[in-house]
């Protein structure tokens, strides 16, 4: 079983930033990576194969993450972030019941000189085969559209399993941190929408509510998450 772990943010994208009273600047991107590395260590110790989307402080866009993770065909996907509150947040993707009809997409930001309005193409998702510029290379906007529809609904058949995985995670975290609230939410999250496997995004309490400079905090969360993954994997 390959478990893909996605440490959130990275590079110039710091995520949540907290300046502690003792002068420490804590960036979410670093905490996310520390948590993901600790989870990976625990999972590997338990015999799982783990793939980390980043192992250093570097920027990855949402589509880049989607492509990298999908190429490894993981059995389970977990994105690791911090929340803005004192609670753990567990997210599962929210998908429309039927595919949404394709909407016209702007080919390029409108020209300021136009004054009255912006031009928009009639390009739709059903025409992805013709999405290329005059040179044969897709423009960045066309590539974005192609990416969007290529991955938009892959999560749908896995939603029940994702909810089960979220439930296992919720139980394990609640047991490990009884003083903390654990919230379950379903919102459209593109990184989860794109995964063809059970997929969850976990946000641990914000850095103003938990001391991530304490190694015990990081290892405690990692143990709880790895435990949930191992239990879910066995089931």
């Amino acid at each position: 079983m390959v478990v893909a772990i996605d440490p959130g943010h990275g590079g110039y994208d710091e995520g949540i930033v907290y300046n502690s009273p003792d002068g420490n600047r804590i960036s979410e991107k670093n905490v996310d990576l520390a948590l993901a590395l600790a989870m990976a260590a625990d999972l590997r110790a338990g015999g799982a194969k783990v793939f980390l989307l980043r192992q250093a402080d570097r920027y990855l866009g949402i589509y880049q993450r989607t492509r990298i993770a999908s190429a490894r065909r993981p059995a389970l996907f977990l994105s690791v972030h911090l929340s803005s509150t004192a609670a753990f947040h567990i997210y599962v993707s929210l998908m429309p019941q039927a595919p949404v009809p394709p909407t016209p997409v702007p080919q390029a930001p409108p020209a300021p000189a136009a004054g009255t309005g912006a031009a928009a193409t009639n390009t739709t998702a059903g025409q992805t085969g013709s999405l290329s510029g005059s040179s044969g290379q897709p423009t960045p906007q066309q590539q974005a559209l192609r990416n969007y529809y290529q991955y938009r609904f892959r999560q749908r058949p896995y939603l029940p399993q994702s909810r089960d995985f979220a439930s296992a995670l919720e139980q394990s975290v609640t047991q490990a941190f009884p003083g903390k609230n654990v919230s379950y939410m379903e919102i459209p999250l593109p990184i989860l929408d794109a995964m063809a496997c059970p997929a969850v995004l976990l946000e641990c309490p914000g850095p103003q509510f938990m001391d991530y400079t304490d190694p015990a905090t990081v290892s405690g969360i990692a143990r709880a998450v790895a435990g949930a993954i191992m239990t879910y994997g066995k089931e």
Partner: protein
Amino acid sequence: MKKRRSRSRTVFLPVLLFILAGGLAAGYLYLSGGYRIARPAAPEPQAQPEDSSYLKMYYPMGGFLQTEQRSVSPAIEDRRDAARDAINQYLAGPEGMTDPAIPSGAKLRRLYFGTNGVLYVDLSQEFKSNFHGDALTEYLLLKGFYESLISNVQGITDVMVLIDGRQIESIGGHILANRPLGELVPPNAAVSNAAIANTAGNGQ
């Protein structure tokens, strides 16, 4: 002289009858309570000065979208004014909020009405660089922006955010912003009640 007297009498009589009839009617209405119906019951809360208009805004606060009515002056003349005012009010953040989810320092650069009903809103880079929230906050930031514009600007069907004139993949790394927002923050995307209650209840 005689002629003048008879003319003044013909004018005086109908006036007297009119005053008497008016007095009787007023007396009847007063005694029967009719005036109470005719009178406004209380000061009109919606009454607004002629030189101002109201906007219904949706702000992300504590895991929810909260609505706020904002007065803008001078009165909104057209949809471009409405769009500009709604965007500026949104960027200013909710009333009296010390830690708003709205990124500080963001400014409206330009706006365009697309031929496809999409309102293109070009914001300064602070809208992206000063956002440091979690996934729910980012979702509500975009959802609130979309709802605030759709509710106040006539004739638009969708809203697309540009940063410094460019399409961007995401504001905060969780939610896409590279397409019109209507599809990215759909109306059926509700956070579960339990989740909201928990999130709102444990901010400390």
